[in-house]
């Protein structure tokens, strides 16, 4: 028996953000164990926020992730504003959405062009892929640059922007400054349209979630728009709650082999957040042009093949351009860059849609504005268990593959989720029993 037991092991996952490993035990009767091991050292953000000023939350939490700092800043400021009882509206609200559009473009394009596309065409990286497909890679970089330009203009710089403030911004961009981006965004939008069409032609492995294997999709839902900063937390199985109720329905668990906490739904276990969940729950809120293109490609919600997440991301990129151009077209510079903020003792809650999915923040602040407690749940902590489930479901169908091909497929299955391991580790090196996982 023991002799038949086989192991798939990837010691250091490549082309994902952060440090993780994979360990799968299987034999002829099936999969015995799947562990997505996250060994990214923890950084204790929730602890180090204690005692700091509420105004520092967006600057400090941005440092959780260099790839989606805007998401952390957005969830942080919305949670703080909930605590203070204020709500930026009009142009300030639109500017935040515009900034988020920039980050979705940046982050999705990083994943599509640098981490994911080469999987479908058999290259180890984008540079190698660029030798045979120079136009695809160059255009993808051009699209990403437009996202960078948006974040740089509104946020001050691409990584860890400095302009986001509780109540609004430190400085609102002028109408002319935003209009100066219009041409670049238009040009990048048409490249993004080509990218969507190209993504649709990729060879997707034949694997779909069916029947009981279909995950519970969780995403924000807003009555008027595709969700970014606001909305209720909803799911494909009827969940419909406000951010304030999040901790009543979701629970985090500390497992021995991961420095990221596993988050599950109390009632039903694992679930999926991210582009596929958003797309499946909010398809009708995409712009008409994006839906039209999706339908031309015969690709509609629900998307039930995780390998097609690259196509969903490229559609979200296209949507982000439509939204960005709409916001810039309607923009009138606000009179004040931010609302007046006055601390009070309170708790504040917010969930926003990070590029990788739902990002929840909760803060308690005292009457002087010092943070007394913080809780942050990153998208990858929420997807971690689903990624393991996905490997468990997928592998039996590909057991006939030679071992190295099977290992490659497992890595690809993980990359479908664009896991951001740096985000998910609230923050320390684990340790599970010495060496026991290495015995095969």
């Amino acid at each position: 028996m023991a002799a038949q037991r086989k192991t798939i092991k990837v010691d250091y996952l490549a082309r994902v953000e952060g440090e993780g490993a994979l360990h799968i035990d299987y034999d002829d009767s099936g999969i015995q164990e799947v562990k997505l091991k996250i060994f990214e050292p923890p950084r204790f953000f929730e602890a180090l926020l204690a005692g700091r000023s509420y105004l520092e939350a967006p600057d400090i939490t941005a440092r959780i992730c260099g790839i989606c700092p805007v998401a952390y800043q957005m969830s942080a400021v919305h949670a703080m504003e909930d605590a203070l009882g204020i709500k930026p509206t009009g142009a300030l609200r639109e500017l935040r959405r515009l900034l988020y559009c920039g980050e979705w473009i940046e982050s999705h394009m990083l994943h599509i062009s640098m981490l994911h596309a080469s999987d479908f065409l058999g290259y180890p990286n984008a540079v190698a892929m660029a030798k045979d497909h120079p136009k695809v890679v160059k255009n993808a970089l051009e699209i990403k640059k437009a996202g960078n330009a948006l974040v740089r203009l509104i946020g001050g710089r691409e990584v860890h922007p400095i302009n986001v403030r509780v109540g609004g911004f430190y400085k609102a961009p002028s109408t002319n400054a935003l209009l100066s981006l219009q041409q670049q965004l238009e040009a990048a939008r048409s490249l993004a349209e080509q990218l969507v069409c190209w993504s649709a032609t990729l060879p997707f492995p034949d694997y779909e979630w069916r029947g009981e294997d279909l995950y519970e999709f969780v995403a924000l839902k807003h009555p008027e728009e595709y969700p970014m900063n606001e909305g209720r937390i909803t799911s494909s199985r009827g969940l419909d709650i406000s951010s304030q109720e999040y901790e009543n329905h979701f629970v985090e668990e500390h497992v021995a082999y991961s420095t990221a906490l596993h988050c599950t739904l109390k009632a039903r276990g694992s679930y999926l957040v991210g582009p596929i969940a958003r797309f499946n729950l909010n398809y009708e809120k995409l712009s008409p042009r994006v839906r039209q293109l999706a339908e031309t490609l015969n690709f509609k919600a629900p998307c039930i093949n995780p390998f097609q997440s690259i196509l969903v991301r490229s559609l979200e990129v296209l949507y982000a351009f439509d939204e960005a151009l709409r916001i810039i077209g309607d923009y009138v510079m606000p009179e004040e860059p931010h609302l007046h903020t006055k601390p009070r003792a309170a708790s504040g809650y917010a969930a926003t849609e990070a590029p990788r999915g739902l990002l929840y923040h909760r803060y308690d602040i005292d009457k002087t504005g010092k943070i007394s407690a913080a809780k942050i749940v990153a998208p990858t902590s929420q997807n971690q268990k689903t990624i393991e489930d996905d490997l468990r479901l997928m592998l039996p169908r590909f057991m006939h593959f030679p071992e190295d091909k099977l290992r490659g497929l497992c890595e690809r299955a993980i990359r479908n989720y664009d896991p951001c391991i740096s985000c998910s580790t609230h923050f320390l090196q684990l340790h599970f029993n010495d060496g026991n996982a290495e015995k095969t």
């Binding site: 490549a14 923890p42 992730c65 700092p69 160059k138 710089r157 400095i162 430190y170």
Partner: protein, 272 residues
């Protein structure tokens, strides 16, 4: 025969570059991928031999240039950095975590066990060092590029300088100079906004004052910064509370000596 330590391996077509990650947010290595215009050009000049975030292809060392992101916070990483040093002709630490401990070095001023309990239900699963330390506390570093995050143009300059065996042209003056070059009105003088600009290393382009806020020193101290004097004037002239002054010294570069000493002096003074 002993090879000339200054020369890059000339028998290989391209010098080998490695990018290593320790405890960090990935933002500094991302800066390399953010060089859209230069990336493919750079890939033609260098063999990107080890860069796990961007490539599943790993080539064996030794490497001509290693870029190191992140601070050291675990026993395993304290060993791994020694190995990285052994394999690297030139080792460049990039970013505030690698050069000054990063935001996670706030643990150095607190009780680490209390920190672990605040985040994890089972602290016994967690193995971490008591302190977060910069790369230079463990191995010899050939160049430190400061910033949270680093400036991608400075990164290209540093790589290019080492490729051509010349000193990197990274200005070591203060953010104030960048602010003047940008034509900004001084936020301190005109609006009374506390600003770390006078002691902070250039590189960001003085973005915070350009967006109407004070600099919060994410690039760390400049060479010979007179931090004590600046803090004195924050207190005297702007009436900033001591705790706030300490927090501004203890954010993204808390272990940079000029900031660490001043913050410790002020924390001690406070408790007296």
């Amino acid at each position: 025969m002993v090879s000339d330590q200054r020369s890059l391996a000339s028998d290989r077509a391209l010098p080998k570059l490695a990018v290593w990650k320790f405890t960090s947010c990935d933002g500094c290595q991302l800066s390399l991928l953010d060089c859209e215009d230069e990336l493919l050009l750079l890939a033609g000049q260098l063999d990107i031999a080890y860069f796990l975030e961007a490539s599943s292809q790993v080539k064996e060392g030794p490497y001509d240039i290693s870029l190191v992101e992140g601070s050291i916070t675990t026993p395993a990483d304290a060993q791994r950095i020694l190995d990285v040093r052994r394999q690297s002709q030139v080792l460049i630490s990039i970013g505030a975590c690698a050069t000054a401990g990063g935001i996670q070095a706030l643990r150095n001023f607190a009780d680490i066990q209390a920190f672990t309990r605040a985040v994890y239900a089972h602290p016994e699963y967690i193995a971490t060092l008591k302190e977060s330390t910069p790369i230079s506390a463990h191995v010899t570093v050939d160049f430190e590029l400061q910033g949270c995050p680093i400036n991608k143009h400075q990164l290209i300059e540093v790589i290019s300088a080492f490729l051509h065996q010349r000193p990197p042209q990274v200005a070591n003056h203060s953010v104030c100079i960048e602010c003047k070059l940008r034509g900004n009105v001084c936020v301190w003088v005109a609006h009374g906004t506390p600003c770390m600009g006078p002691v902070t290393h250039a590189g960001c382009g003085a973005i915070c004052p350009s967006y109407n806020r004070g600099c919060y020193a994410c690039y760390g101290p400049k060479e010979n910064s007179n931090t004590g004097s600046l803090c004195h004037w924050w207190a005297e002239n702007l009436h900033v509370e001591n705790t706030l002054i300490i927090e501004n010294l203890r954010n993204f570069n808390p272990l940079a000596p000029a900031f660490k000493q001043e913050s410790e002096g002020r924390a001690d003074g406070d408790s007296d």
